[in-house]
Symmetry: D2
Subunit: 348 residues, 4 copies
């Protein structure tokens, strides 16, 4: 009954086997091994165009370096006000950019409302040395509230970005979960919809530490290798990140793992809809579910060994005093019996 977060999960056996195999070999350090190169090319194949790829160990590193790569003095980044960049990285973007500003935009389900985005951009047109200058727009797919942007929604935000000459960044911490739900290709969910830079996350979906910063226009990545290195994010044994990706992509393991997680979330959704005194706080599609339930039930579940995270109540959500809002996350490793045990305990 482990539903706290997908980063509480372990790693897929295939990923571990790939690491073990790599451990028995020598290889060039600092990202220059044959395996590093092979996986970089694999990314280009997956995204159906030549991309520039930089392996890192955390999503915060990928996000922060992405912003550093498009940095401008007095730069302002437009992202959702509940985004991980704002809420969960201890000012990492500000730090890695030397002080760019994150401007939080509202929008339902933690998705940027494009009208509000336009309104937020308006005062910066033209930019002034007093208020600063827009430097990027960032969206999260799948996001913190379980929301998934449809292709049309991404395209709409990308259109705003293009009009303003701004790069569009996607924080893809749960990229795979969104991808398999939308049933589109990686290309369709990114550059074909107008995304310029992607933080491609694999850690939450079965790896131990494997993230990739992907530039769809390689010349824009000219500085990224220097930025990564000087921030301490170039692994000497970089090929062990590559080795994780190798297994991750092999036979579409990544899509399978994401589908498994989403399926377990669906099982949760379906089951919860049949339980009294429990309701979904808002509809979600991927592997994260937000549920309002009675405190007493939550307490009992925890006592029984279930783990899940408390979530801050949005202003517009009605939660009774004896109720609480929680998040349930299904991971690649969640089994049907974990879900069913949760229901048994909940209904007790």
């Amino acid at each position: 009954m482990q539903f706290f977060s997908d980063n509480w999960a372990g790693a897929a056996p295939e990923v571990m086997a790939s690491l073990a195999a790599e451990a028995r070999r020598y290889g060039t350090a600092y990202g220059d091994s044959a395996l590093d190169r092979e996986i970089e090319q694999r990314f280009s194949k997956i995204f159906e165009r030549e991309v520039a790829v930089f392996f890192v160990g955390t999503g915060s590193a990928a996000n922060g370096l992405a912003m550093a790569a498009v940095n401008r003095p007095g730069g302002v980044i437009f992202c959702h006000r509940d985004s991980h960049m704002i809420e969960g990285e201890c000012g990492g973007v500000e730090f890695l950019t030397g002080g760019a500003r994150l401007l939080g935009i509202a929008g339902a389900h933690a998705k940027i409302d494009s009208a509000l985005l336009e309104a937020a951009l308006a005062p910066f047109d033209p930019p002034s040395v007093h208020g600063g200058q827009p430097m990027a727009i960032s969206i999260t797919q799948q996001n913190e509230a379980g929301g998934i942007y449809g292709i049309a929604e991404i395209t709409k935000i990308a259109a705003v970005a293009k009009r303003r000459g701004l790069p569009l960044h996607m924080d893809g911490a749960r990229f795979a979960n969104a991808l398999v739900r939308l049933e589109v290709t990686p290309a369709e969910m990114t550059w074909k919809a107008g995304v310029d830079i992607l933080s491609f996350g694999a850690t939450k979906n079965g790896c131990i530490a494997a993230e990739a910063l992907v530039f769809f226009d390689p010349p824009k990545a000219a500085d990224a290798a220097f930025l990564r290195k000087r921030a301490g994010h170039l692994f000497s044994k970089s090929r062990f990140v590559a080795a994780q990706f190798k297994a991750y992509f092999e036979d579409d393991l990544w899509l399978r793992l994401a589908r498994d997680a989403n399926a377990m979330a669906d099982r949760l959704r379906s089951g919860l809809s049949k339980v009294g005194n429990v309701r979904e706080a808002w509809p979600t599609q991927g592997n994260e579910i937000f549920v309002v339930l009675r405190r007493a039930d939550a307490d009992r579940l925890r006592k029984a060994g279930a783990t899940f995270d408390d979530w801050a109540r949005p202003a517009d959500l009605a939660v009774a005093p004896d109720e609480t809002l929680i998040r349930l996350v299904a991971a690649f490793s969640t089994r049907p019996e974990d879900v069913d045990a949760f229901f048994v305990e909940l209904k007790r």
Copy 2:
């Protein structure tokens, strides 16, 4: 015949087994798992005092965050002019400190000459707003030129540091190799000799990515957790770094691996001393050897599959036009037959 660098080596089977075991479990994220705590305590036990420990993935991260933790505006860090911080981190210390300065000190075998250190510190006494203020001294053990500071040498530099009220940092990228050669305890080679902060490296000695930033005076580490997080260096699945250390310390694996590497370096030293047209450039003690040999020999060795790094000739080293200076590094995984094959080829 892989002698390019110990970071070209793979990882120890015990480390991989520990990772594999951890992959099958759930665990709290962001460094708060039971395993993280257990290994932190293990560090305290190894160092015979309560220490504050922060796991990171690269030595550059450990070094840069160490300096950030003792940062002062206009700060100047005194380290050897051939140190990794200066030569190999792309300005990482400068970046992570927001612009501290590295002041390179000379000294034989890449070890800081304490008289030159005193001389370099003199103009900063008292500090002025024009020249800046000293903020730290950093030494590397075992260092870039294969040098190992004796305990007395560390103590002497520590005395300078104390007199100036400066923290003494040790870049321990090859900590274990030095430790087993000196036949002292971790405590003796660090805080008992006056070291305040340690970058404890395990990656080069049989892990895939496991480094620890260790503060011997835990209150001094108050900011380190925030610094690590905002630099993107807090792994969500931090327990996989802990898992590497678990195996690394179990049954003194780390000391065994370092002794193995050093023994293979000794086998190289011993063998080389018997070969004509080859000489050690300077004496070393750990797992790195610097050798002057004929270019023709170096080329032939490489053709036969040997790997090793070219090294920049120091100004005071005589190298004939038909000779070249190379570095040979023995890793934990180097086997006697690798060394012997190298000699066979060299003597051909």
Copy 3:
């Protein structure tokens, strides 16, 4: 009819005379002249306690260096969402702190609502490495909307700051205007009410470029001299800033100039209350007035040579389509005839 801003005004003759006198002398550079010291002591006398003072040339420098002096990694600064730090410094605070975050608090008349401040602080108690840590609270006196905090209001916010262990900073760009209106002493409006650090502005009130960063607890200023110098804010001929302050304080010139400006603002207020089709947008007390008037009137006034700034309409202010919101600022140099000419034109 110059009402655009008090920084469009020139400088007081007394200030210029002091500069001219200083120009004929030699003096030690970089803040070490007898005059620098004399004026530093003058600040201590004015504030009735020993203070640490650092002269700079802009309010942005004072604000940014104040925040840099209390910097913490992952630091969050709580200030009004309409504050100059957020709206008008191009991310200067973020830059000078290496990426601290400004968190905008709402509140009427651009004054922080202390209840909202408490609410904003709550999620950071205790601080976490994900969300960052509070590092300062900053208020502006007199602020961007013409608002002036009463002593009780400052005390209330200071109480919040103390409870959280946070320094309270006052951006005193228009310090004198607020001071003479409240009819209190400099000490009463600052440290006696709980203010720890002050950006003391004189430029807007009759100087050409004279600002002072004042620490009421001098040991807290240990790093400030280094921060100022390395940000390029230590003037070689620093004594010319001191010379401005010399005249500024002599015979209470500063209070006289501020009273003159406020009196002219009062004359504007009084006159405007008697004109139809014009209304104060919200009540103000100092030298800034916010007025809703007909666009046609505004246009005609401008054609006649009047200058004033358009102001962004707050969400809760009713402004008809044919109306506009403007700001009128009276400076030390505003004359009654300027005000009267404005009315003549307005009533035309």
Copy 4:
């Protein structure tokens, strides 16, 4: 007998008169006044091409912002090891660039030796993520040791810069003193010789605080306005910097002031050559003279009211134990009788 530094001098009466006149007027703030524009154009005229100009208050600001404008991650700046950027700005360049590195090059008379420059650049060709990447070359004219680069010398260094694709920056803290000595035009001493960016200093030569950052290729200055603002270096009453330059350029005042200072230095040189027990430490041409004299003489001069600075003895300069090395600087305001009084006292 004030020879400590030209920044101990006051300001020229013409400059003060211009300030006083400006004080009586209103003007647009933040660099947008008619006067700001007029002086910007004046710079273009003086340099015989369209330039982008940014007024600031200190030379350190100009230098640091110049480097920030050409910043690259892992960037290395090549300048003389005795340059002001390295020796006298408290790490200002490092701070304003977020951690670029200054690499000190040797060379006689504090002028970069172009062969040593080439040698220092060699290891960065090609740049690597380990060592960083070259980002600029900076020379000082007239420099810290009183040295003046001849046009051919500048051209030679510029050729190195061009070959490496690096911008050439000139720190012109004492630009005028060098200019009138070389008897060339501002254009000849800068862009015609290959200089790309200039820190144009006027403070030392008769202003109170007037420096200009000049880009000879205006498109390269795209970010400079934002960089200046967010570093706190945009004066609200910017026109008071412009007013200083107005007088400075009027009727070639600046050239006259520099010639006066140089002439007084020549009077010192000439007189010193006739005094026993005194010798020039090395030949200089501008307004700075470096002299070895007996300590007893130096002490007596100081007691008599003379001011001058002690200078650090270069390794290759013979100075007897009872001797000392001092710097004498003539300012625009130095009078013949000051010089003569110095000699009277010296010969006593």
